[in-house]
Structures are given as structure tokens and as C-alpha cells.
Symmetry: C2
Subunit: 180 residues, 2 copies
């Protein structure tokens, strides 16, 4: 079965995923009266599981909403000791080498993975383990914050797959790692 | 007459305008056998003059090509003492406060300005003096280099104007500063 690691994320025009104070309000600066999902439901219908870092996991736990994921969530952390009892059937702690973690997840039958959270995405990219990136650009310059991308040991070439515009304001570009 | 300051530039997917060594080879990584200008000629037909920093000016002077600009070029520099004699009819030294510089340029009859070079664009953005940004994204993660955007004192909202894809690989997005 095809194995792939995908990113589906929104950034500001200057490439931040959270503002200077860690805030996400700017993500909702474009009026969206009909709660358009901008491809999210379609994207998540095509993944088997999520991989995220502890920070993202705890952020989502902290939201005052129902647990938003229908698929298993693998939480990358060397410091978290256990998943809270409330989420033991939904989230699973993993740690160690990313390739070994991926092998464990694949062996459980999850091949198409949604890689989420800035730190986790950056760790995967440093090891050239991201196959697809779908970025929705919110037309705002935040001028600082937490960047999606960070330093890499080597440049990584991608292919442009396609582009869509949502709400007449959010351009979503889809890239795939170029296999050479 | 309408006054506007426009950026027309290419960046990597991770937002760099030059790689770790200042190199630009990656800009030409997408095969372009017919030398498609990707909207550049149309864009420059609608501007009256260019404003760029000393670094960009000297970089262009250093290219082993004909002087590429048909419009007057205003070179922002506090260190350059004079424009070389070879270019005295094409380029003009300006320095000081950006608003005063703009007023001088407007008084000469140049109202639609092409703002070029990373440092110059960043200086203009810090003072909220950019009206339009046209960014062509090359689908490569450079993993380091000279970023297009830098810190800003305040977030700046833009409007998405439109999107085009060139060579099936380069997505060009057009943004306009949102007037509130």
C-alpha cells in the first residue's frame, strides 16, 4: 500500500503558523459564514492516522471542543509520560527515531499519515520524510511568530500539483516531493 | 494620479529570495525553454520607476548582461557616494526618510513604483508602504537563505487578488494591501 506523509496547514503570507503570542485568531480573519472546510474533510478522508507533537496534542486537548479526530493520533514526545485516560483509545504515545516510529505505525496498518504541528513537520522535513504539502495562505503579514519551515541540511525539490482559491481570499497550493 | 508601491518577486516555498550562499540558481530549476517571462513584461509596462537598495543595484551591475531596466532606477543607499558614470542617466541615488524619498520621486512624475530587493522591501513593509505584492513561488524548500519577509511592528492585512500558474510549476499569487 502507498505510504505517504502529508502536511495540511494554513500559514500567513509570511509563513507563520501562529502569531507572536502563539495566537491563531488571524486564521479566522476571512469571513466564512458557511463554515467552508477548505478541503479538510476530503483530505482527512484520505489519511489513516495523524502524527503530531506534544505541544499540538496538548493545545487540541485544551480547546473547549469535542476531540476533533476520527482517526488514531500518534503523539511524538520524549517528555510526556502517558496519554490522559480520557484519550487512551484515541491517542498513542510514540518516541524515538522517526523512521522506527513510522515503521511501527505502518505495521499497525496506517500508511497515509497526516503530519501536524510545526515542530513535528520540521523534524520530518529535516529527514526528508514529507511527501505532500498542502498550504492554505491567509493574506496577512503577521511580521513574526512561529514559522512553518525551519533550517534544513539540504534543499528539497517539490512539484506543484494544483491550486485552489477558497472564500475568494485563501489560496491553497498543493506540492508533492519530487522523486529523482 | 494613482500612487502605488509594488513588489514583483520570486521566492522559494519556504520564503527565501536567495539561498544560503546568496545564490539564485534555484530560480532557474524549472525548465523554461521558451523563456516565458511569467508576467514580468506586463508588470513592468505598468510601472514608472524602480526603487532598489545598493546591494540589488550592485548585484545587477555585476551581472554580465545589458542593463535590464527601461525605467529610471532609484537606488536607496546611505553608503554609496555616487552612481557609476556608466549609469548616470539610468540610476539615481536617493537616501533619507522613505516618505521624503517617495515624495521626491512622485514630484519627478513617477507614481507607480516597483520596489525591489529584500532589504528595501522589508524597509517599505516596516512603514506599511507596500500596496501590492506579486509573489511567484518556486516549489523548492531551500532550508535557509535570505528571507523575503522580516519582523514587522504590526500585522498587515492584504487581499487576495488572483493566482496564475506558469510552466505548470510556478504559482504566482497577487495580493493587495487591504484598506480599512
Amino acid at each position: 500500500m502507498e505510504q505517504k506523509n502529508c502536511v495540511f496547514i494554513a500559514t500567513s503570507l509570511d509563513g507563520y503558523i501562529a502569531d507572536k503570542n502563539g495566537g491563531l485568531d488571524w486564521l479566522y480573519s476571512i469571513p466564512n459564514p458557511d463554515h467552508l472546510d477548505m478541503g479538510y474533510v476530503d483530505f482527512t478522508s484520505k489519511i489513516d492516522a495523524l502524527v503530531m507533537g506534544r505541544v499540538t496534542f496538548e493545545t487540541v486537548l485544551g480547546f473547549d471542543v469535542e476531540w476533533p479526530y476520527q482517526k488514531p493520533v500518534f503523539v511524538l514526545s520524549n517528555s510526556l509520560e502517558a496519554i490522559p485516560d480520557s484519550h487512551k483509545d484515541k491517542a498513542f504515545l510514540v518516541n524515538g527515531d522517526l523512521n522506527e516510529i513510522l515503521e511501527q505505525i505502518h505495521q499497525k496498518g496506517h500508511h497515509r499519515l497526516y503530519i501536524d504541528g510545526g515542530g513535528t513537520i520540521q523534524s520530518f522535513l529535516k529527514q526528508d520524510l514529507i511527501d505532500e504539502i498542502i498550504i492554505s495562505t491567509i493574506p496577512i503579514l503577521l511580521g513574526g511568530g512561529y514559522p512553518l519551515f525551519s533550517d534544513l541540511p539540504n534543499a528539497l525539490e517539490f512539484e506543484f500539483v494544483g491550486s485552489r482559491v477558497y472564500l475568494n481570499q485563501v489560496v491553497q497550493n498543493h506540492f508533492r516531493r519530487k522523486k529523482t
